[in-house]
């Protein structure tokens, strides 16, 4: 018994490989796809669904034709290449009508103007979007609307300059009058000064300047605008003008002054209560009735005004939510510091409220951009139906149905998705609370 050799290990066993289901890709699949019977079934169903969609759409995309002069030729090419009876996408329609989709009927030889305006838009937006850029660039952003207006519609530059000068006049009046007579009178004087400038001084000055230095571009009337250019103009104007208006409305809604508050509430609830279509109808049908006899109004401008009012009401509600989320202490602290109303709003309240409201505001903007397709119902050439109808009015392309829609969907997706991603980036960057 004693000489029984005792056995004991001197070194550890090497660790065994984990079982197949707990390792690498299998483990990952087990945890993330087949953790239970229900989950597994869902996974299989989901994969089958994706395969089905791909299988049914793939041949059509695979049989794409990029070069053709007419739909008939497109179909011939598809039949010749992949056999009779096959179906294929005819992207040649987009190629052939590329300018139509992008610019509408904008004169061919002038297309550099919207292109330049778009490039400058990127430059003008960059200091707003990215805070690392030099702050001086914001002046360019401020001047951009006038510049873009001149580039796109043409005419003389001096109109834009004198209109912008109106703001400068207002600012000057505010600065001097404000110093002498206080902010309240200053603001009133500034508004009055700017309006007087626009009404009586701007036109003669512009004419005089145009005589001396004729910075003149061919005038392009609004009915030449269409396609994504029109969407961009309405969308960008709506976004640019509705944000300040929405801020004012939301402040008005929280105001202590009952008349102002009631007016703002009425306006917001009215605009939010009716569909955009009825507002667009109003712009095209009824606005002319409410202007002095014989006055007409550019339809694109009318649409821009309506779209702006529409999204301003929504933005006002979003910002109101942001304002409600700011603790009372912040307002009280601003008062305790002796800040007046506008300073308190500008320095304390709005920066916080806007930060909270970013996702909502960007959501409204995305909605606004998508809604620009609705201008079709007042006869403007939106990129979705309006331009597609114009393309189909051409005998060569009549009968094309899916391709224009897929193309428009892709462009809209790129911009809207980009906007929503940017808002998430901004949200993350501005997040200052420590969780």
């Amino acid at each position: 018994m004693a000489d029984t050799d005792a056995f004991f290990r001197t070194e550890m066993l090497p660790p065994k490989e984990p079982p197949l289901s707990q390792r690498g890709v299998w483990k990952w699949m087990h945890e993330n796809m087949f953790s239970s019977i229900g989950s597994g079934a869902l996974t299989v169903l989901g994969i089958l669904f994706v395969l089905y969609v791909l299988a049914s759409a793939f041949p059509w995309f695979a049989h794409s034709v990029w070069h053709a002069d007419s739909l008939r030729q497109c179909r011939d090419i598809v039949h010749k290449t992949w056999g009779p009876g096959t179906d294929g996408a005819c992207w040649a329609v987009i190629r052939a009508n590329w300018n139509l989709y992008l610019y509408g009927f904008y004169p061919m030889e002038q297309i550099w103007r919207p292109n330049l305006a778009f490039l400058l838009l990127l430059v003008a937006l960059s200091p707003i979007l990215f805070s690392r850029l030099p702050r001086k660039m914001i002046w360019f952003s401020a001047c951009y609307p006038a510049l873009a207006y001149w580039l796109i519609w043409g005419g003389t530059l001096w109109i834009s300059v004198t209109i912008m000068a109106g703001f400068a006049v207002g600012a000057l009046v505010l600065r001097f009058l404000g110093r002498i007579a206080g902010t309240a009178l200053g603001v009133g004087g500034a508004v009055l000064g700017a309006v007087l400038w626009w009404l009586f001084v701007a036109a003669p000055v512009a004419t005089a300047l145009a005589d001396i230095v004729p910075l003149h571009l061919t005038f392009v009337p609004s009915d030449k605008l269409g396609g994504f250019l029109l969407s961009f103009i309405t969308g960008m104007c709506g976004i640019g003008f509705s944000l300040p208006m929405g801020i004012l409305l939301s402040l008005g809604r929280r105001s202590d002054m009952p008349i102002i508050k009631t007016s703002c509430v009425l306006f917001i609830e009215f605009v939010r209560g009716v569909p955009l279509i009825t507002l667009l109808f109003t712009a095209s049908f009824l606005l002319a009735y409410f202007l002095p006899p014989g006055t007409t109004f550019d339809l694109v401008l009318r649409v821009i005004i309506m779209v702006t009012l529409f999204s301003a009401a929504y933005i006002a509600e979003v910002i109101r939510g942001g304002l409600a989320a700011i603790p009372r202490g912040q307002f009280e602290a601003a008062d305790a510091l002796g800040l007046d109303y506008w300073k308190a709003q500008r320095l304390i309240v709005m920066p916080q409220a806007l930060k909270i409201s970013i996702p909502g505001i960007v959501g409204v903007f995305i909605g606004l951009f998508k809604d620009t397709t609705l201008v079709i119902i007042v006869g403007l050439l939106d990129p979705l139906m309006g331009i597609s109808n114009a393309v189909r009015a051409n005998v060569a392309w009549n009968g094309v149905y899916w391709e224009p829609y897929i193309f428009a969907a892709t462009i809209f997706f790129i911009f809207c998705f980009g906007m929503s991603r940017y808002s998430m980036y901004l949200e993350g960057k501005l997040k200052t609370d420590h969780r």
């Binding site: 994706v50 007016s263 279509i277 049908f285 009824l286 006899p293």
Partner: protein
């Protein structure tokens, strides 16, 4: 205290209207309302002048004229001899109908998508992300056009149901046919119908009323039974079985009533070009319903996701620590808190859906915009009146929904401070 009393009482000066914050508010408001009055007066004056110049007077009497056109879907009695006003009512009911359907399915879809997007299943979570991002970043108008076109191109035409060996087959034991024009459904009929009661504007089936009455009564009785069970439980600690209550109180009486009335289904049959008998629901409503639901669901999904994430983990852990089972944790702790975050934006999505239903023009669904704002406007040329009526109607719907929302918000608001 004495200081305040001794404050010198200054006489009112004109400059105080601007510099004294007590009076400034009045000044601003007076100026504002004056400007507003001038603006409105100017607009009204212009309108009056323009209309007088054109010899047109706003006049709603066209609403009582014969409409003269047919509507493809009507839930109340309407023929082309009815009035424009009635056509508008048909459109309004269609709008409300598709909006109500849309709200229900969008909520269901949205909740499912929102929950699944949080799921640990990688495939499903990614699929839901793709669905949400793709659908909400493309205009609804485009989705409606696409859905309508797909609906009509993948479904068989009614003629394919004809003949002894039809190319297409009916669903549900030959009772339902999905065609590229409409879905032919069996219609409920009664051998011993109670008839209709005429409410002036429309008729209501007494059979339906009787059915509703029986169901409501059944629910009330069942509730009373449940309350009694709770009372017994509280008194004795033992809960009497109540599983039979819904069956006995609701199901049995309903079946009895249906048998009494001689309920049967009238299957649609193909005759000539089209099906006859049964209910023919046009494809446009399905396209619009589906489109609105799928589109709005993406927004609801995000709301639901945010709502669930907003309930802090501590709440769940606390509930577990108290020994609540997962299901009860969900229903008693997480959901009530999440709902407070979810419901207000949810209802504003319902509002959006209702307003978006005006895009019905893309799928030829006869909503208010198509009848009152479309054909009636076209026939009568009364643009001012038609658009005004349409706006007022939508405004009324929206304000009604808003009122409900605000009432709910007040009810569930956290009672702090």
């Amino acid at each position: 205290m004495s200081l305040a009393g001794e404050q010198p009482k200054r006489a009112f000066r004109l400059s105080m209207l601007v510099y004294d914050s007590r009076y400034r508010a009045y000044t601003i408001q007076v100026l504002f309302i004056a400007a507003l009055a001038v603006l409105i007066g100017w607009l009204v004056n212009n309108a009056a002048e323009n209309l007088a110049r054109l010899g047109i007077t706003p006049d709603f009497s066209f609403l009582w004229n014969r409409a003269g056109y047919d509507i493809s879907m009507k839930l109340i009695h309407y023929t082309n001899d009815s009035t424009h006003g009635r056509a508008a009512l048909v459109g309004l009911i269609n709008t409300l109908f598709v909006s109500a359907l849309g709200c229900v399915t969008a909520t269901i879809l949205g909740v499912v998508a929102g929950v699944l997007r949080l799921s640990k299943n990688w495939v499903i979570a990614r699929l839901m992300t793709v669905y949400i991002e793709v659908v909400r970043n493309v205009p609804l108008l485009l989705w409606l056009l696409v859905i309508y076109a797909v609906f009509t191109s993948v479904t068989p035409s009614p003629s394919e149901f004809r003949g002894t060996h039809p190319k297409a087959e009916m669903w549900f034991w030959g009772s339902t046919a999905i065609t590229n024009r409409y879905v032919a459904l069996p219609s409920p009929e009664f051998f011993r119908s109670l008839g209709n009661v005429d409410l002036g504007i429309f008729k209501v089936s007494l059979d339906l009323l009787a059915l509703i009455a029986v169901i409501v009564a059944g629910v009330l009785v069942q509730r009373a039974l449940r309350r009694r069970a709770t009372r017994i439980q509280e008194a004795t600690g033992r809960r009497p079985a109540t599983w039979w209550a819904p069956i006995l109180c609701i199901l049995v009486p309903v079946v009895a009533l249906l048998m009494l009335l001689g309920f049967h289904l009238d299957d649609p049959r193909i005759r000539g070009f089209n099906f006859s008998g049964g209910i023919l629901a046009p494809n446009s409503i399905f396209a619009l319903w589906f489109g609105l639901s799928v589109y709005t669901a993406t927004y609801i999904a995000e709301i639901v996701r945010a709502g669930i994430l907003a309930v802090s983990k501590g709440q769940t852990e606390a509930a577990h620590a108290l020994g609540l089972r997962p299901r009860r944790t969900m229903s008693l702790v997480v959901l009530p808190q999440a709902l407070r975050v979810i419901v207000p934006p949810l209802i504003s999505q319902f509002l959006n859906l209702t307003k978006n239903s005006t895009l019905a023009f893309a799928v030829a669904y006869p909503d208010l915009g198509a009848t009152l704002g479309g054909i009636t406007l076209n026939q009568s040329g009364r643009a001012l009146e038609c658009i005004l009526l349409m706006m007022v109607t939508y405004l009324a719907i929206s304000l009604l929904i808003s009122a409900v929302m605000n009432a709910y918000n007040r009810a569930v608001r956290l009672k702090e401070r």
